[in-house]
């Protein structure tokens, strides 16, 4: 079991709920992934409450915890207000804090992120900050009261996978006791396995599953990759070498000439 801020989770895969071809596929993908936590958002309700009701009923029927986000917020004020609205609607102190700083890369505005995190932590939120792999920013977020960090490994929805392994490895090394969740940029199950092998505690992904030709199959594949990466990390990976080393014993080798 994975202990995330006092909550015991059966899975180390957190799944987004956006972009699926249908609500039924979303439900099937959530089940196939084995996830314990899904991310949700708040948006303008244009159908008198009925659009939100349909989605919220579906999510509640899945028996998973929700992690509301502040996606699309570009200022501290927007993010803090959205977080407070999410806390009321979803009845949780968890918030995936996004303060976006760049339209093209959806890179977090780390200065606004730290400021918003401090306000929300002081107000009793459990803040899951969507951040970069910058160590100093990570330290500031921890000082602000965050108990978990969610660095990107590549831009949201890019499917590039971990583009800076050294930075991710460095984060793990610097913060051995902080839950680290790779959020954003994963495109393939092998990407998830790679970051789990580095010792990350979990991954959060959405597009790679939702936009796959078969989201349910891809959800299952990611679940296996996350488990495989985690078990590999716990089992002690060998270090790569530049020379060949025979795996079959050389002693007792037959001589035919």
């Amino acid at each position: 079991m994975f202990d995330l801020l006092g909550t015991k989770l059966a899975s180390r895969l957190l799944l987004g709920t956006a972009q699926y071809p249908s609500p039924a596929t979303l439900a099937d993908a959530v089940e196939a992934s084995g996830t314990s936590v899904v991310t949700v958002s708040l948006r303008r309700e244009m159908a008198g409450g009925k659009a939100g009701e349909r989605f919220w009923s579906l999510i509640r029927s899945l028996g998973v915890s929700v992690l509301p986000n502040t996606a699309g917020c570009h200022s501290v004020k927007e993010a803090v207000t959205t977080a407070n609205m999410a806390r009321e609607v979803f009845d949780t102190s968890w918030i995936k804090l996004e303060v976006i700083g760049n339209h093209d890369t959806l890179q977090p505005d780390v200065f606004g992120l730290v400021e918003a995190a401090r306000i929300l932590c002081d107000d009793g939120f459990d803040v899951f900050p969507y951040t970069t792999d910058d160590l100093v920013v990570a330290e500031r977020l921890l000082e602000a009261g965050c108990k978990v960090l969610m660095p990107w490994c590549a831009p949201i929805g890019s499917a590039l996978g971990p583009v800076n392994i050294m930075a991710l490895r460095s984060m793990r090394g610097h913060f051995p006791d902080i839950p680290l969740i790779v959020d954003a940029g994963l495109g393939r199950p092998s990407h998830a396995a790679t970051v789990m092998e580095l010792g990350f505690d979990a991954v959060l992904l959405n597009t790679a599953v939702a936009k796959a030709a078969d989201p349910v199959g891809m959800a299952r594949a990611f679940a296996k990759a996350v488990d495989a990466g985690r078990e590999a990390y716990g089992s002690g990976l060998i270090e790569p070498r530049d020379v060949a080393v025979p795996s079959t014993p050389t002693i007792g080798r037959a001589v035919f000439s």
């Binding site: 991310t39 958002s41 303008r44 009925k50 009701e53």
Partner: protein, 65 residues
């Protein structure tokens, strides 16, 4: 009075946020509201008086990543 609700200008008879939700046929306990950028909790909507030109956001659960 003239209000901006979810970015759209409209004319409403309601004088409180609670009454406005009913006037616009919003229903359900999963709505979140904000007035001029500040959260208005559900419990405070009935006593929250509206003024001409107020900007109101009415949000509900939606898919997210």
């Amino acid at each position: 009075m003239k209000l901006i609700v979810n970015g759209e200008a409209l004319e409403a008879k309601a004088t409180t946020l609670d009454a406005l939700l009913r006037e616009l046929d919003y229903e359900g306990g999963w709505l979140a509201t904000a007035l001029n950028g500040d959260v208005v909790p559900a419990a405070e909507r009935a006593e929250f008086r509206l003024s001409d030109g107020d900007r109101i956001e009415i949000l509900s659960p939606m898919q997210g990543g």
